[in-house]
Point group: C2
Chain length 235, copies 2
């Protein structure tokens, strides 16, 4: 494929946002004496993610940082659940910050370390540049650079995000392999001229909600872990 | 100082461009059978660096990538030296690429590794995003992220470069410490509201040309190595 750059989606693909957000929410709710299901809360919050970004992408509002979108949808969820008074400013800031510190899936560190010997490894997420820098640093993931949708001032799957990434790394889009656990992301990448690799993450949405499955996805490559990706690309 | 981010200049401050460019030029000239002083050539090339960027910064021309500026000044130097015919397209591309692969000063890897435990470490150079990504990867330097003047579409010491860096990392400019071996860079950083650390690199311009000396520089901190910077900031 003459691939030079591997661009990795982060939330769900590289890190387990469900477990990470649910565990941090569990602690924060416990501190406040609130009885709430943290897993259901994490899912509810994440469900607002794509619609909130779509409003930016479709120019219904100006550019807004992911932290801002997370905060707005958090405020909505808390209001709907009758928790507006129970969860104050400091706890809301802690909850938004939960997305800055999430655990990597078990296969990620080894897979990236092996892939880094041959490819430039970039994080390419809708998370903001600062958020991604903090997340990657805290999880000690060996990316060569951070690329964020923020650099294109729009969100994936807008083609501009993928093309900005290729342009900043001074390669043709076809030299970039987008690695993601979501069909919508790979469709956007393919439309922008990138190659695509699907990583199946069946537990992305926790134990009770189905995640994207390989069978329903169109991609140049399909694997079930970053180590399997390394096996496929380095063989 | 409540510093959260350390932003490092690269050419001269982190890597030894003089030795790196001269050694690669020596090889390329030898391959072509050209008798030229590679150290003098490296200095001559670097002398065109600030003026070429100033034309972009002062809007005398549109944004141009550092590789483009390097190529233009290379073409000029070769013409002045009567080497236009002797150095063909492939050799010129190799020479421009020399700036993508330069050796770090001896104290850099240890200093960065220590500083990374407390601070977010960013490369902040006039080199392009791809150039810096390649350079940092080849030298295995543990930066947390790559920031380039390219992201601001102008060059240091334009305040926009420093402010874009702080903005992308979501901190006030005063939370960023700019680390550089050049007074002009630190003056630009200070004017943009950043804190400043001068690193004296007496051999930056090789054995026969004086580099910026601590005595003539205004900065919040002055050191002679990255390990000394770690000593000062982590004590």
């Amino acid at each position: 494929m003459d691939t030079e750059v591997l661009a990795f989606d982060i939330f769900g693909t590289t890190v387990d946002w469900y477990t990470g957000v649910a565990e941090q929410a569990r602690e924060i709710f416990a501190d406040l004496g609130i009885d709430a299901d943290p897993g259901g809360f994490a899912l509810d919050w994440r469900d607002r993610y794509l619609p909130s970004m779509a409003r930016v992408r479709e120019h219904e509002r100006d550019w807004a940082y992911l932290d801002t979108l997370h905060r707005e949808s958090l405020d909505d969820i808390l209001a709907e659940r009758g928790l507006s008074d129970a969860v104050g400013e400091a706890a809301r800031a802690r909850l938004v910050h939960a997305w800055h510190r999430l655990p990597a899936w078990n296969d990620v560190a080894e897979g990236l370390a092996r892939l880094r010997s041959r490819y430039v490894l970039a994080a390419l997420s809708n998370g903001g540049f600062a958020l991604l820098t903090h997340l990657v640093k805290a999880a000690a993931l060996p990316f060569d650079c951070i690329l964020s949708a923020e650099l294109a001032q729009t969100y994936k799957p807008d083609a501009k995000v993928y093309r900005t990434a290729a342009s900043l790394l001074d390669v043709a889009p076809s030299r970039v392999l987008m690695v993601a656990a979501h069909g919508w992301d790979l469709e956007g990448a393919a439309a922008a001229g990138l190659r695509t690799a699907f990583v199946e993450r069946p537990r992305e949405k926790g134990p009770h909600r189905a995640a994207d499955q390989a069978a329903g996805i169109t991609a140049d490559l399909k694997v079930d872990s970053f180590t399997a990706l390394a096996d496929a690309l380095l063989s």
